[in-house]
Symmetry: C2
Subunit: 339 residues, 2 copies
DNA sequence: CAGTCTTGCTAAAACGATTTACCTATTTGG
DNA sequence: CCAAATAGGTAAATCGTTTTAGCAAGACTG
């Protein structure tokens, strides 16, 4: 057993001290008084034997595993997972933590079992990541171990990390205003009248609130609004076809996400309308494809990397409350100022 | 310590047996002879106390952690990581394993340290995933623990999982042949003459080999070939603009990946050429955007999910050799048969 | 009826760290 | 010069499992 690795006892023997000494010295424990010489001998022995501590033994004794569980509902369905995981991964590496990634498929039963599995491994903290941001009902909240909800909120868990959607919405409006386009903008994806009282999801709701309050603050209203439930390119295409062929064509389209905008690009090409000369476009998310479009799509980005990193930080140094991460404006080429 | 969880000793006490008995019964060890009644008492006690074994203690004793390290060079740069991780994650869940995700940034030094960190945690196996498929030089290969290279190969590690690029290449040619287009196809991304002796990467080399051998087998040659080093949409756009405006415009474009094809789509729209009526398009990867295009892009898919799953399977049940995973043809609407 | 098997179980030694409670010299203080 | 403090360490318990070795009592065998 032990795969033949050197143990602390080996180091102790070589340094001619007890393993208690080795433990204390190597772990850099303060308030201890070993001679300079002993320090050196221990370090040399450890280096010579290329000693590495056995994490399981340490976890057993200390009940800390230096691992964080990243539990998500779907790693699958969304390209967003990537950024969240990436951010979390990097932050945990620099915190000296390892990330255990797990998936629940969104089923509450599996969620509870997955949390249990994480607890069995004595994880130092748990991140519950929701890929479709929303209000989460946790079937169980383990006591005494830090937990944060990423990209969602939960009554059961006071700590969460979310994109600052409301401000993002306002920023989008501000950007269009700066270009002098606010007089002729259509909103693609949501219609206040049609979706009155319908609940989309918490962040999306906030995104809309931000947009509305931005418009109001400027005394502006949308030239038109179109309701679309599924924000997929094909629906964006259809919507744009309708909007852009009408009598007074809007000068700008504010799409509620990049996939809708992508569909709108296709419609513009098909109609021979040049972006941004004839139609300006702005949207949300900063999906990978936003950079591929010609011209590039100006969009308010979901700061997934940053969010993942913040979640780790807040698990390592617990802190209550909802943390809003700024959604940066990514300026590309799809907006032209009206003259 | 122990966070107050029930231990095996608690179960033993409640069932009125020793913990050795509990251990053997709960782990379903064969060739043991406890009475039916004892079995029952132990199971009942465990259930009543909702006992869960401490993974660290078990790992310490058995030197197996039921965790697999998924070590990748970049989770970052590529949307492919997603599929690989997803496949690996699901397979490990059904094997009763946990996945520890780690990243090396592609630096050999960090790679070695990361492998060490994995070994410190007594992982049951290691998956080295390369996001840009290639020949990998491993700075260290731990003895006695199963390891497989995912999406790459390595002299130091006999087990690997790769897409079957060569067959994929041949299948692409076969598909174009079936549509009767082989007489007028341009290859976008590689030119035999220009890139003679240049090494792209192992899988890409095979992809090209497959394409070549498919063409040869049919006695066909490309109408034109264009060399592009960076397979990004903007380059695909430029290439297609050049190809499609020439004297005898090719009937079909075989793009070496979907991003090039995406650029070609943009060029077609701009030139007013209808896909697939006037130009057929086929490519490789099945990038997410392939489904968004209008019409959908017919492509030979990289089977990332399947590959991730296979890597886990081969770590759990070690087996040497290179495993080639079939790249399925995803039929969408970008090819029309010539008449 | 003595010896051997079987049945059903347990005591105790690992595994490799951390941590508590000492222990022995030597200094220091008064 | 004696008591107390300090310096420099160590022995052993502990974390929660798994596993080896073996015990006691009854059932067979010859």
């Amino acid at each position: 057993m032990g795969r033949g690795r050197t143990t602390m006892a080996d180091v102790a023997k070589r340094a001619g001290v007890s393993s208690a000494t080795v433990s204390m010295i190597l772990s850099g424990r303060p308030d201890t008084r070993f001679s300079q010489e002993t320090h050196q001998r221990v370090h040399e022995a450890a280096a010579a034997l290329s000693y590495r501590p056995n994490v399981a033994a340490r976890a057993l004794r200390t009940d800390r595993s230096h691992a964080i569980a990243f539990i998500s509902d779907h790693v699958a369905t969304t390209r967003f997972a990537n950024g969240l995981i990436r951010g979390a991964l990097r932050a945990s590496a620099s915190e000296g933590q390892t990330l255990m990634v797990m998936e629940t498929g969104g089923e509450p039963g599996r969620e509870a079992r997955t949390i249990d599995a994480a607890l069995d491994r004595q994880v130092d903290g748990i991140i519950i990541a929701s890929m479709r941001a929303r209000e989460i009902t946790l079937s169980k909240t383990p006591p005494g171990i830090p937990m944060v909800v990423l990209n969602g909120t939960s009554r059961q868990c006071p700590a969460s990390v979310l994109p600052d959607e409301e401000r993002g919405g306002r920023d989008a409006v501000a950007r269009l205003d700066a270009a002098g386009l606010l007089g002729s903008v259509a909103l693609v994806g949501h219609e206040a009248a049609a979706e009155e009282g319908l609940f989309r999801s918490l962040p999306i709701q906030r995104r809309l609130d931000g947009i509305r309050s931005g418009m109001e603050a400027r005394g502006a209203t949308f030239a038109r609004e179109l309701s679309i439930w599924e924000w997929e390119p094909s629906n964006g295409y259809a919507a744009a076809m309708e909007l852009l062929q009408g009598a007074d064509r809007p000068r700008a389209l504010l799409c509620l996400n990049d996939r809708l905008a992508f569909g709108a690009y296709q419609a513009c090409m098909e109609l021979g309308l040049r972006i941004p000369e004839e139609v300006s476009l702005m949207s949300f998310d900063n999906d990978e494809l936003a950079a591929y479009l010609r011209p590039g799509l100006t969009t308010i980005a979901l700061p997934h990397d940053e969010m993942g990193a913040r979640a780790v930080a807040r698990v390592v140094r617990p802190e209550e409350g909802e943390e809003l991460v700024t959604m940066p404006l990514i300026e590309r080429g799809s907006i032209r100022a009206a003259r």
